[in-house]
Each structure stands twice: as structure tokens, then as C-alpha cells.
């Protein structure tokens, strides 16, 4: 799935209607941010749906080997983000300033900017939402059933195809909203999704695949490792440290930090 998300970021990058002129304030600013998040999520969800239809469903129908899915996802990602590059231009596009960024909270010498507060807040909402969705709803139950054993789940009356599409769209929604936040800080460009896609995959593996809380822990850990690693050594080595620690952690806990002990590899 890493590949498919790569393409999604670019697709939704320009979805928010940019407001030119003076930086909006107050309610307008909030409305704009919410609209941007919603538009990003909608575009992400729609592209995830399309990717699932085009690149995954035909393979599932034919019972393709797992590697074929990975390659198909890479192909879809190449297609999507380069098409976005063709349509939206290959220069990076800044997201217009939606609010005046400044410190909202300071503890000692550390200030929390509005931007960071926004990102943390949205992440927390999404995290709680997904955790609730997966653990306590009928949909979440079906998702977990399909993940464990798709055939048995279908015998129990779960519409496997629908559930798979649903998880794709859900992933796309989250990635799209995340992409909007990312673009607010780093601008939008057609290749912007690749590295975050890889990092997201890394974080999920680090925490333990199939575990929402593990994914959050993995993401936090990866981010902290990168920041402190870059600070302690040289900024250009931050990825070396992040990946080095990843390798070491996986050697010690092959199923990820919070991952269940792997049953026999199926």
C-alpha cells in the first residue's frame, strides 16, 4: 500500500480553494482550514477508491501472489503522481497562508506554534476516530475479521469486497487530510508523497502491522529518532539513524513493537 498512498498526496495537493489577498483571521481561517482538510480527505479517499478498483481488485479476482500487489501499487503510484505532475505543473506550489502563524503556548523557552498545534490536534482527532472505528464499530469488526481470515469472514456474511474498498477509502481520507497539513508546512509538489509514504510504511511496521496504537507509537518514535538523531549528529544523517534503529528494533522484535507474535508466515 505504500505505493498507492504515494500517489494520493499529490492528487489532493491542490484541492483546497486557495484564498489570495490578506491572511484570513477568526472564523474564516477556521472554515478555510476545515474546508482544506475536507477537500484533501475527499480527494485522497476518491483516489484511494480508484486505485483499489484499478490496481487491486483485478488482482484479487485472479488470486495473484502478494508481490504482484506491491508492483501494481507501485505502477499505480507512478501513474497517479506523474499524471498530477503533468496536470498541476512540476514546480512546487505553496498553500496560501490560511491563518497568521504564531506561538499559542509556551513552556519555558519552547513555543508551540499554531501550525504545530493544529497538526497535533488533527492527528489526535484522527487517531481517536480510527481507534474507535476499528475497535468498536461493526465496520471495524468486519475489517478485523477480513484481515484475520477473508474466506471465513465471507462465510460469516461479511461482504469482503466492500470492506476492502472501505479500508482503502478510509486510508485515503486520512492520507489526504495528512497531505493537506504536510503541504501547509512544506508546500505541495507532485513528488511530495513518496517519502512520507515510505515513512508511513516504516512507522506502521515499526509499531506492528495491524495495530492502530502500534502505528501511532511507531510514528512518534520514528519522528523523535529523526529529530534527535539529526540534532545530535548531522541533519543529513537523520534518516541513517532512523533506519538504523528500525533495523535494530526489528531484529529484536521481528513483529514490531506492539505486534502480535507472528503466527507461521502464511
Amino acid at each position: 500500500m505504500l505505493g498507492s498512498f504515494g500517489g494520493l498526496f499529490a492528487a489532493r495537493a491542490l484541492a483546497p480553494g486557495g484564498a489570495d489577498g490578506p491572511t484570513p483571521a477568526g472564523l474564516t481561517a477556521i472554515a478555510l482550514v476545515v474546508a482544506g482538510l475536507a477537500a484533501g480527505a475527499a480527494a485522497g479517499g476518491a483516489s484511494a477508491f480508484a486505485v483499489e478498483r484499478a490496481a487491486y481488485r483485478p488482482l484479487r479476482r485472479r488470486g495473484a501472489p502478494p508481490l504482484a500487489y506491491l508492483i501494481s501499487a507501485i505502477g499505480a503510484s507512478l501513474f497517479a503522481y506523474n499524471l498530477a505532475g503533468k496536470e498541476f505543473g512540476r514546480q512546487s506550489v505553496p498553500v496560501p497562508e490560511l491563518f497568521t502563524d504564531g506561538p499559542v503556548l509556551s513552556v519555558g523557552s519552547v513555543a508551540l506554534s499554531t501550525q504545530s498545534a493544529l497538526i497535533i490536534g488533527v492527528a489526535a482527532v484522527m487517531l481517536l476516530g480510527v481507534d474507535w472505528l476499528v475497535s468498536s464499530t461493526r465496520f471495524g469488526q468486519a475489517v478485523r475479521a477480513v484481515a484475520q481470515d477473508a474466506q471465513t469472514a465471507s462465510l460469516m456474511g461479511v461482504d469482503v469486497e466492500k470492506i476492502i474498498t472501505g479500508t482503502f477509502v478510509l486510508g485515503g481520507l486520512l492520507a489526504g487530510a495528512g497531505g493537506f497539513l504536510y503541504a501547509m508546512t512544506f508546500n505541495a509538489s507532485y513528488t511530495m508523497g513518496f517519502v512520507p509514504g515510505i515513512k508511513a510504511f516504516t512507522a506502521a511496521v515499526l509499531g506492528g502491522i495491524g495495530n492502530v496504537r502500534g502505528a501511532v507509537l511507531g510514528g512518534l518514535l520514528l519522528g523523535l529518532l529523526e529529530s534527535y538523531g539529526g540534532y545530535l549528529l548531522d541533519a543529513s544523517y537523520r534518516d541513517v539513524i532512523a533506519f538504523g534503529v528500525l533495523v535494530v528494533i526489528l531484529l529484536a522484535r521481528p513483529a514490531g513493537i506492539l505486534g502480535a507474535r507472528a503466527v507461521r508466515a502464511a
Binding site: P58, L67, L70, I71, G75, L78, Q91, A142, L246, P254
Partner: protein, 462 residues
Amino acid sequence: MRATVGASRSGAAPAARAGARAATGPCVLGLLAAIVTGPRGDGDHPWRGVERSVLGPRIAVFAVLVALLVGARTPAGRVSLAGLAAAARRRLTPLAPLAPLALVPAGARADARAPGRAWTARRAGPGAALVLAALAPLAVSRAGQQSMVNDIGLYALLALGLNVVVGCAGLLDLGYVAFFAIGAYTTAYVTSPTAMPWHAPFTVNPFLAVPFAVAAAALAGVVLGGPTLRLGGDYLAIVTLGFGEIVQLLANNAGGITGGARGVFGVPPLSVSLPGLHYAWGLAPLPYYYLLLGLVTVVMVVFGRLEAAPLGRAWAAVREDEFAAGLTGVRTVRAKLAAFAIGASVSGFAGVLYASKQFFNPDSFSLQASILVLTLVVFGGRGNRWGVLLGVVVLQGLAYALRGIVPPPDRYIYFGAVIVAMMALRPAGLVPAPVGRALPRSGPPVVPAQPGPAVPDPAVTT
């Protein structure tokens, strides 16, 4: 929620709805094709390209295509298509005996059937392929030859090496290009006093750098593989990905050791210097091409032998069911380690050739390069070295063919579309690996199956 049984719906559905369903796919495809080939937009006018693609007069072309596709999917269209296909098959029947030549893994079958004819039958296909490969560069321009060296020859070596890891042993390696980098940098250390910030106490001809580079890459493969091969699937993939990233980042940033982002200049070209024979490979692509062709041939032959050897059979066993393989006495860790080391060696070897083309920089060793090699392997048909070769030629050839027609970055749109279509239509690759071919059959020779439609290899789905 209700159980989905795909077939139960279609029969009773009203004709109009069935028609609409049949038309959706082609319509979406047509629209996409129109947008892909249409005018471009930019950041300030994000929808202009799409608008002009869809509303312009050229949409008519795609509308006709859609109509044809929809027509082909109606019951009447299916009947006439089936008729066409049957006619084509009848016409092609005289050529049927040639089919195994095209797909080449005929060797083992020919052996079983007619030992007397075996030698010619086994050699004819590969021989024809070799002759074709030797003549092909004479028919293309110099730029084409250059591309045949850089994009096809080198990548063929890389893909064949990765095929051992991914195709034969079934291990997913996303950092494969790291070994290529290790080979290239090792070459720079031992061949040139100026290319790197420091160099080995001796300098040798690039050909003599091969053992150093291969040893360094194989050692790296064993060091990485030793502790990581007990991880499975996604986890192995992510560890190898991390390793690949680390190697590239070190190449880029550790200026004091690797020369950093500016790259490496001044590795001497390959040369042969014997009494009575002196030759140096210069900038011309053709000599490099024939050198690569020879090396690919050697690798193909060696790997062909390897697949039938005990090690190759151990790989097949590990790939199909590691647990069962271990129970039947296969030393699974050793077999996987051997696959890793052999794959890494081939990659390191390719690194020598790459370095001796005088200049390289760390950009060549990116994750994208690893993914490209993996794509070539899976596209061609992992586990089947002929398929892998064909995959390299087809995909890289496509990239080259699109070079003049569309702007270079746009090529990847078509590249991606071809990959997705390929995986949807033939998930096991262009030339799927035959099931169980590596295992010797005891008892009377079995009558070989007629070459028929590709069956996805069920063994690899584990």
C-alpha cells in the same frame, strides 16, 4: 451485510443496467486516456489541462475507442471476438511448434521426450535469442546503443541477480541497489588514486577489481542477511529498504569517505593488457554492449545450472513452503543466505562495470532504482530468468521508445499504466515460471503438457 457471490447477480439484472455496467469501465478508461495524452496544465491553472483534454475536439477519437470497447463487451461483440480469435488460432497452428522456442524453458521437456534431439532443441531458442541480441544494436542509432548499454544491459545483470533473491528464493529485497553501490565504490577505491578521498594502497585494472567488488558486495549481503533473514515478508522488505537508504545516504553525505554528492570521477575505463593484445573500452557504446552481452550470457548459463542444482532446488523448496522445507532437511537459513550473497555478488559485479564508465554519483543508487529493478523482475516473471530478460527489454525499451514522443517525466505515466495493466492481466509476469520444473521427475517420462494459457503459479501465493 450480505455475502457476495459474483455470478448470482449478473443473470437476473435488467439489460439496461448490465449495459451501463459494461460501459462504465471503457468510459473511464477513455476519459483517462484522453487526459493522459492531452494538453498539460500548471500550478496556477490546475484544471486547464483536463478541461482542454475532455472538452476539445480530440475527445471524439477517444469516444470512438470507447464505443468499440463497449461493443466488444456486448454479447454480440464477444461472439465475434471469439470468432476472430479462433480464426487467428487456426492460422497460427503451423507455427505452434515454435511456441516453446519463444518461451524457451523447453529444455527439460525436450530431454524427457527425445534424448537424441535434445541438444539441438535445447540450444536453438537461446541461440536464436543470442544472435538476435548480438545483431540488434546494429539496427539502432548511437543513442539507442547507449540506451541498450545503460538501460538494458546493466539492468539485465541487476534484474537477473535480484531474480535469484526474489524469484528463486522468494525473499523480498527493496534495497538491492545498495550492493550495486558497494560494487561501484569498491571499484573506485581499488582502481584509481584520484577518484576518491582515499584509495587502497595499490591500484588495479577494473577487471581485476571484480573480485574485490564481488567479495565486498557478497560480504555485505551476508552481513545484512545473517541476522535479518529470520524476518519474513514485509519485515524483511522494510529492513532491506532501510539498508538501501542508509547506503545511499552515506554515499551522499559522508564526503570524507565516499566523495559525497558530487559523485566519483576518474575511474579508469575497462582495459585488457596482455602480451600481444591491448584493448581499452572507451566511450563508444558498442564494445560495452558486447561485453555486457557476454556477461549476461555467462550469468544466464550459470544460473540455469544453479536452478537445477541442489541449491536451486533448496531455494524452490524454501520459496514454496519454508516450514515444510525445513522439516524435510533443507537448511533454510543457509539456502536463503546463499541466495542473498549470490544476488549481491551479481549486483556488485554490475557495479564494477558501472563505475568503469568514468563517472557516477549517489543519485544512481536511490530507492527508485531498487524499485525499478524489482519491477522489471516481477513484470517479466520472477523465477524465470528468460522472462526477467524479456521484461527488462520490453519495459526499458518502452521507456526508450517514449523518449521522443512525450516529455521525459511524462513517460512514467505510461510506464505506470503498463505495469498496472500487466499485473491485472498476467499477475505472474510476462513469462510465468513453470511450476515444479526445477524438481527432477523420477519414473517414466511424463508427457509434457501442451503450451496453454498461463496458469498463475499457485506455489508462489504462499
